[in-house]
């Protein structure tokens, strides 16, 4: 026992080590690709959308200020400051400086991420908790009695959850619960009452997918030999389902949770827009539309780092739940 446990913990350590070594290369590749795409978008981020153009000399001065006249200089300058290399070499006063936002000069990209990311994370993680809860309950109900009316009903809900876009569900929920019933405030952030509606909206497609994974797993597990044995021993059905079947049925959900959580955290901009949640998602979209290149690069850097870390976390968690996987 002690040998196996030290073996597994050393393999976890080597897994973490390997992934962390890969991290900078993955992020650099993402950075370069994003840079090329973002730079090739036409338009000038310093230009006002209302059609007013300052004189050419002022435009030139503005471009120079942000190194927007030279892609190569911008690429390396930004990379150096964002990665902390410039700071380590003593060329810059702080590490991990993602630059000023070109559209919002009062806010550095670091500040925008620092205010928006916790909001998006709270929203995304709450949504995932709701999704797992709904998904397990709905999936187990369906999986234990496949073909029953209850199963058909949960399946129908799951299909609806996957196929209805969140701006439709979000607007409908907003109309019903916030405007008509007045149970929740319309839009904004601050306090639990602001989190529930958007988190529920965001959770639906994930909940639907998880319930399908669980249902399928349960149907398969309940027919397996070890379950039949357990049933033959006289254990009640619910106990077998809960103690033995659900554990194995849950494993595919776990591997889905890593990428899904990353998507929930980063892809919530539609929900953020509908519910006026001041998260990072809508800043990112506005950044892309307005060619706010520093904001786009900064968010992409943080997102890609988070993606790698989340996938790693899930892999570690996987081993933690089922030590057989090494």
């Amino acid at each position: 026992m002690s040998a196996s446990s030290s073996e597994s913990s050393s393999s976890v350590a080597s897994l973490i080590g390997r992934r962390l070594l890969q991290l900078p290369f993955i992020v650099l590749a993402v950075y370069t690709l994003t840079f090329v795409l973002a730079w090739s978008v036409p338009g000038n981020p310093l230009e006002n959308t209302e059609g007013r153009r300052p004189p050419a000399e002022i435009v030139e001065a503005m471009k120079k200020q942000y190194k927007l006249d030279d892609p190569v200089a911008f690429y390396f300058d930004y990379l150096g400051k964002a990665s902390g290399v410039s700071w380590a070499l003593g060329n810059h006063d702080r590490p991990f400086d993602l630059g000023p936002s070109l559209k919002q000069p009062d806010w550095s990209v670091n500040e925008i991420i620092a205010t928006g990311l916790p909001v998006s994370m709270t929203l995304g993680l709450t949504a995932m908790v709701i999704a797992v809860a709904i998904g397990i309950v709905a999936g187990t109900i369906g999986g234990l009695r496949p073909g029953s009316p209850l199963d058909a009903f949960t399946q129908l809900l799951a299909i609806a959850g996957i196929s209805l876009p969140s701006f439709v569900i979000g607007s409908a929920l907003l109309m019903l619960f916030a405007v008509k019933l007045g149970m929740f405030p319309v839009g904004g952030w601050g306090g639990l009452q602001y989190v529930l509606l958007p988190a529920f909206t965001l959770s639906l497609p994930f909940a639907a997918y998880i319930s399908r994974l669980i249902r399928f797993g349960m149907i398969e597990e309940m027919g397996a030999d070890h379950i039949r044995t357990a049933r033959a021993k006289g254990l009640p059905r619910w106990k077998v389902a809960f103690k033995h079947a659900l554990k194995n049925a849950f494993l595919p959900v776990l591997s889905y949770l890593g990428p899904a959580t990353a998507v929930a955290l980063t892809g919530s901009f539609v929900v953020e827009k509908v519910f006026a949640v001041p998260g990072i998602g809508q800043n990112f979209v506005d950044g892309v539309l307005g060619k706010d290149i520093t904001l786009v690069m900064g968010v992409v850097l943080v997102y890609s780092t988070m993606m790698v870390v989340f996938n790693l976390a899930v892999d570690v968690l996987y081993r933690f739940i089922d030590p057989r996987i090494a």
Partner: protein, 658 residues
């Protein structure tokens, strides 16, 4: 592993439970602010609170109450009234302005506001290092343009060979500072006096002084975040000083909370010299980008004033308002005849019945919607441009039935425009009329330009028999409004003028690129005025103006504009400008004005007072306030019971207010 002794579900639930607890803690720490006296719902957050760098309308509106300029623009009538300056003198040659600052003007930290603070802020605005949108507005001040150019040249030279200044940007900065002190005609003989010399008389200089980009900043606070970049020689000005807790302001309010794209809280500035002006002691500005959510929030009592209603709702809601006003037109017209303000009358009427509303109102904005003609001699492909000929431009403008476009396409009841300057927006500026709708004359103009359907194929040709080139109509796809307008006008031109025409929709960025390059024949355009003078509109046609997308160049226009600028008598000058505008829009037609924009606000006049109706549509947040008897809580769209039984017979007269 040591955790094997716990069942699998405990091992799974434990991290989830911890997560839920952490989330709960994070959420409950982030509590909402206490209710404010006035709540605004805005479509976008301020990009900056640095007055010298602002350029968006909603920012400038907030700046007007956070900072105070030398003189103020009174929102109700756009008159110039005292601000930080208690009085001012203008020299006989109209080139020197002497401002006497009030001694009780204070910054929000108690420091006195001095003339040096203005000089400091104005220097920042002119410096190319600041990269301010509106630097050019300062170029009327003697020496300002030269100072700007000198600094630009010096920075370029520094970047090439920093060793000239021993690689020390400060050394260059000392030269720049001395240049400003010596050559830019902004003088501060004492802390309460500011003297400015202009190159030439500028009739609207006081109006510029009331523009938020001319507001002072608190030098000691701003300086904390200024550093020097020794590789480029530039002054690096970080904006961290604009954050609540650090920001020092001299206006009616101080921002105390600013959460990015979420909300901003303004509290009355305890040191403001005129506290009686400030009605709401605290103001919350919420940012809700989604227009749908903004309306829902307003209707469920989430705000007193929605400053920009989304396009989806405008037509329907304005029709509901029209129905309401029509019911009470007799009362409204009687009230207006007694000189009452429309909002006060409407706010005192019985509550709207279902299908009616009064909590929405459209105003003619200080902006004009138009379509530009490409006036260049050749098109981007090198082909001859038929629109270089003013007769062709006139023909196309005369063909458009603007009223029909407004009734059937834009449907917001906009005011038809035949010139650029919105009527009534500038005191003493005469009403100018351009050409209107006259298809018969349009065909004659086109014929005079040499285009006629000679071979009877339904398309006009020139004298050489070449077909009129397919008219390329460029619009931006940002809003369906422009596509619909372009399509409707295309059909009008095809039908009346017998030309081939095609619409070309582009994403707003690509549309802008094409505009700049002159890659169009006719293109969608629009303009909002910056200050209260016709030149903010007419300068668009000047050769070399960065916003002259039409490439219009006419020496006669330049001469007449210069002549007007040299005129000392303000009335005569405005009359001269009106003559130029008349000539532009009856003869030259570099662009075809369509209508004045309509800005639609949502607010309930029975609950909110103080919204200004002046055509420049400058709103002063500090004079807005809830009417007596209105408290926090449910407001806005919540209807006070069914009023069906109260409907009086429809009046026969139209109400004299929108």
């Amino acid at each position: 592993m040591g955790c094997d002794r716990y069942p699998w579900w405990v091992r799974l639930l434990a991290p989830i439970l911890l997560l839920v607890l952490a989330l709960f803690a994070a959420v409950s720490l982030d509590s909402p602010l206490p209710p404010a006296d006035l709540v605004l719902i805005e479509r976008s957050d301020c990009y900056t609170l640095d007055p010298q760098r602002m350029s968006y309308q909603h920012e400038l509106r907030r700046a007007r109450v956070i900072y105070e300029t030398l003189v103020n623009l009174r929102a109700s009538d756009c008159a110039i009234v005292e601000g930080v300056a208690k009085r001012w003198e203008i020299s006989a040659d109209l080139r020197t302005y002497t401002f006497h600052l009030r001694s009780d003007a204070r910054w929000s930290n108690g420091d006195p506001v001095t003339s040096a603070d203005f000089a400091y802020a104005w220097r920042r605005a002119i410096l190319p290092d600041t990269a301010a949108d509106y630097s050019a507005l300062y170029f009327a001040i003697s020496g300002a343009r030269a100072f700007y150019n000198n600094r630009t040249v010096a920075l370029a030279a520094y970047a090439k060979s920093p060793e000239t200044y021993h690689g020390d940007a400060r050394e260059l900065w000392r030269v720049t500072e001395a240049d400003f002190a010596k050559n830019v005609a902004i003088e501060t003989p004492d802390p309460n006096t500011l003297v400015v010399h202009l190159d030439a008389p500028l009739a609207y200089f006081l109006d510029l002084c009331a523009f938020p980009c001319f507001a002072p900043v608190h030098p000691a606070t701003v300086e904390q975040f200024v550093s020097f970049d020794n590789t480029s020689g530039r002054l690096i000005q970080r904006h961290d000083w604009t954050k609540p807790g650090r920001i020092v302001t001299n206006g009616a309010y101080v921002p105390t909370v600013w959460r990015y794209k979420r909300d901003m809280r303004l509290e009355a500035n305890p040191y403001y010299w005129d506290p009686s002006r400030v009605i709401a002691k605290s103001v919350e500005c919420r940012t809700i980008e989604n227009p749908n959510t903004g309306v829902l929030s307003f209707q469920s009592g989430g705000g007193d004033w929605l400053t920009d209603l989304g396009p989806e709702y405008k037509t329907e809601m304005l029709a509901e308002r029209k129905a309401y006003l029509a019911r009470f037109s007799a009362e409204i017209n009687a009230g207006l005849a007694h000189g009452a303000v429309a909002d006060d009358i409407v706010g005192g009427l019985p509550v709207p019945a279902p299908g009616e509303r009064r909590d929405v109102r459209g105003f003619d904005a200080f902006g004009t919607d138009f379509f530009s003609f490409n006036c260049r001699t050749a098109l981007t492909g090198g082909n001859a441009n038929p629109f270089h000929d003013a007769r062709v431009r006139r023909a196309f403008a005369l063909t458009v039935n603007k009223q029909e476009l407004i009734d059937r396409v834009t449907r917001l009841g906009e005011r038809v425009a035949s010139t650029l300057v919105p009527p009534g927006s500038i005191p003493d500026y005469p009403l100018v009329e351009g050409i209107g709708f006259d298809p018969v004359r349009a065909r004659a103009e086109l014929k005079a330009a040499g285009y006629d359907d000679r071979d009877g194929d339904g398309i006009v040709e020139n004298t050489a028999g070449e077909k009129f080139p397919t008219v390329d109509i460029l619009y931006s796809t940002a809003s369906p409004r422009y596509q619909n307008l372009a399509l409707a006008m295309r059909d009008m031109w095809k039908r009346e003028l017998r030309v081939a025409a095609e619409c070309r929709g582009k994403d707003s960025k690509l549309y802008k690129e094409d505009l700049k390059k002159g890659n169009f024949m006719i293109a969608r355009g629009g303009w909002y005025g910056d200050y209260g003078d016709p030149t903010t509109w007419l300068d668009l046609q000047r050769a070399g103006n960065g916003n002259n997308d039409r490439g219009y160049e006419n020496p006669e226009f330049e001469t007449r504009m210069d002549a007007a600028a040299a005129e000392h008598d303000p009335k005569t000058r405005l009359a001269m400008l009106a003559e130029v505008e008349k000539w532009l829009f009856t003869e030259e037609i570099p662009l075809m004005p369509l209508c004045n924009y309509v800005t639609v606000y949502m607010y309930d006049p029975s609950r909110l007072g103080g919204i200004a109706e002046h055509p420049r549509l400058e709103q002063d947040i500090s004079v807005l306030g809830r009417r007596a008897g209105v408290h926090d809580g449910v407001r806005g769209g919540v209807r006070d019971g069914d009023q069906r039984n109260n409907i009086s017979p429809k009046s026969t007269t139209e109400p004299a207010v929108r």
